[in-house]
Homo-oligomer: 324 residues x 2
């Protein structure tokens, strides 16, 4: 059977709360989707069974399993080489879970897995702002900071499948670095994730008595969205928080350029809604700190896949790569 | 004509002082070589003419140009994509010099160029300790710190051909970083090059009055080799200098792992003669600072190509890749 009669792939966005299954065509349109609650399934076996059951009506809808080329899963701690989720702290199944094999046996089609940030990079390359690019880095700014790195047109998985953890390069060395969920200190993620932005807000508010709309909120409950809203209203402190975040990201990107000299840095996730308030400081800090040979060369872009189905689309892109 | 009748490649190690031309067989043996003085040629045209003249007897020796598959050149600021040396500060020819094209026209064979650290990485992959590896990083510790990065079995050149400048990631941020030849501050190179080691020696000697064999030397004339010799004699200060250098390299490698998760870090150049005095602190600092998922996985190796012909061999490896 060739491509013309297998015109679809399945994309799966496996998250800590929900898992979304979608069927995607070659133009990158999500034709239909369905959701199950990840946490409801105590075992991976039960999860796969529920996933297959939730996929059945979607598969029927597009003409049966014979029309599906392959399935791609984006999941936290998803390892491309092993097709397994390995020690994901926020999922109910502990240890190493060979989810790609389990779905492949249940559905009878090839299944590949990668982590969520790599899926986003794949999505940008096939459907998004990185179309035609061979060297770029996607940086996801969410609860954490993730990354998907593309070099010579290929995702970088490294020797063990865990490459691309740019949220965990050290930006502040020594004891003054902020403690990170990974157990170390000073990681980029502690400054530039949504959580990091909220922490920066609390620190600035506590250290000074400058007036700010953010003072109307309980400091412990401030979220990055509150900072975005305040900045949008012209609040000087909120703008400074984004300037600090952007500067940290720009300096990190200057180091990443020395590594792989990408054509573009692409930012993905809720924080990018701050627009130029975030993106301008990133680009300025980058050009101020990068080696002369790289200055004013890289593009700084916001993801073109910001719809609610972006993660499904990214994961589905993996399906085109592995499908027979 | 096929490989069996084109059994040789030419490797060229173009340095600031000398340029060595060698003919290499498929087993990685340099059959014969010849040297010209780089600085004697005011124009690139005169240099190419002299190079071809110096190659003629070597080519005759192995049976004529029909036995040569291709030529590879390793040169400072050599760009793989353009085949040109671009703005090399230590060479007599300014601007952009399309040396690969010039040699190709003069000799009638394909010619490729890359920078010296990339040539070293290519050499390790084909002839050295990285045989069989698909993901590794070579770090050259010389007057400067260079790097050649291999991912998925390919050299990383990046969007513009200048990727792999790991000597210029920022290790000490802000004004307290040591000034670097690249015009910025705090680069890895300022701490871990031969020059950086000598500077560390001067700083430690000036700051303390601890006894050391290094105090017998004029501080301004101390070189990294003096530190090696003193350390070899058990000098505590000299050992501490290598421990500091190794710690800085190990912390840098921890960040590089987050990028590409290599199987091995391979160190090349005179400083590696310090052996465990340097290599142990590198590995210890790496495992102390790297993310948990990478800990105790990477190999730390010293180059297997430390003979005087290593650079020729590395450059020649490029010839096998591009030869028809």
């Amino acid at each position: 059977m060739n491509d013309t009669v297998k015109p679809y792939v399945i994309g799966v966005d496996l998250g800590g709360t929900n898992t979304v299954f979608g069927i995607v065509n070659q133009r990158g349109e999500v034709l239909c989707d369905n959701t199950i609650r990840t946490q409801e399934y105590a075992t991976a076996e039960a999860f796969v069974e529920a996933g297959v059951a939730c996929l059945q009506p979607l598969i029927e809808h597009v003409g049966g399993i014979a029309t599906i080329k392959a399935m791609g899963i984006g999941a936290p701690n998803g390892n491309y080489y092993s097709g397994a989720i390995e020690h994901a702290p926020n999922l109910p199944w502990k240890g190493i879970v060979p989810l790609a094999d389990m779905f492949s046996r249940a559905l009878g089609i090839p299944v590949a897995m990668t982590n969520d940030a790599n899926a986003a990079a794949m999505g940008e390359m096939i459907y998004g702002v990185a179309r035609g690019m061979k060297n770029f880095i996607v940086i996801t700014l969410g609860t954490g900071v993730g990354s998907g790195i593309v070099i010579n047109g290929q995702l970088v998985y490294g020797h063990d499948g865990f490459a691309g953890e740019l949220g965990h390069v050290t930006m502040v060395r020594g004891d003054e670095g902020r403690p990170c969920g990974c157990g170390r200190k000073g990681c980029l993620e502690t400054y530039c994730s949504a959580t990091g932005v909220a922490r920066t807000a609390r620190e600035i508010l506590a250290k000074t008595d400058r007036p700010s709309l953010l003072r109307e909120l309980d400091p412990e409950k401030i979220q990055s969205l509150d900072v975005s809203i305040a900045a949008g209203k012209g609040d000087a402190v909120a703008k400074e928080i984004f300037a600090f975040t952007g500067k940290m990201l720009g300096e990190a990107c200057a180091d990443f350029a020395a590594f792989s000299s990408p054509e573009a840095f692409i930012f993905f996730g809720g924080l990018t809604k701050a627009g130029d308030l975030l993106m301008k400081p990133i680009e300025e800090a980058y050009n101020a700190h990068v080696m002369g040979i790289f200055r004013n060369k890289a593009k700084f872009l916001v993801s073109g896949l910001m719809s609610s189905n972006a993660a499904v689309l990214g994961a589905s892109a993996l399906g085109w790569e592995i499908g027979e």
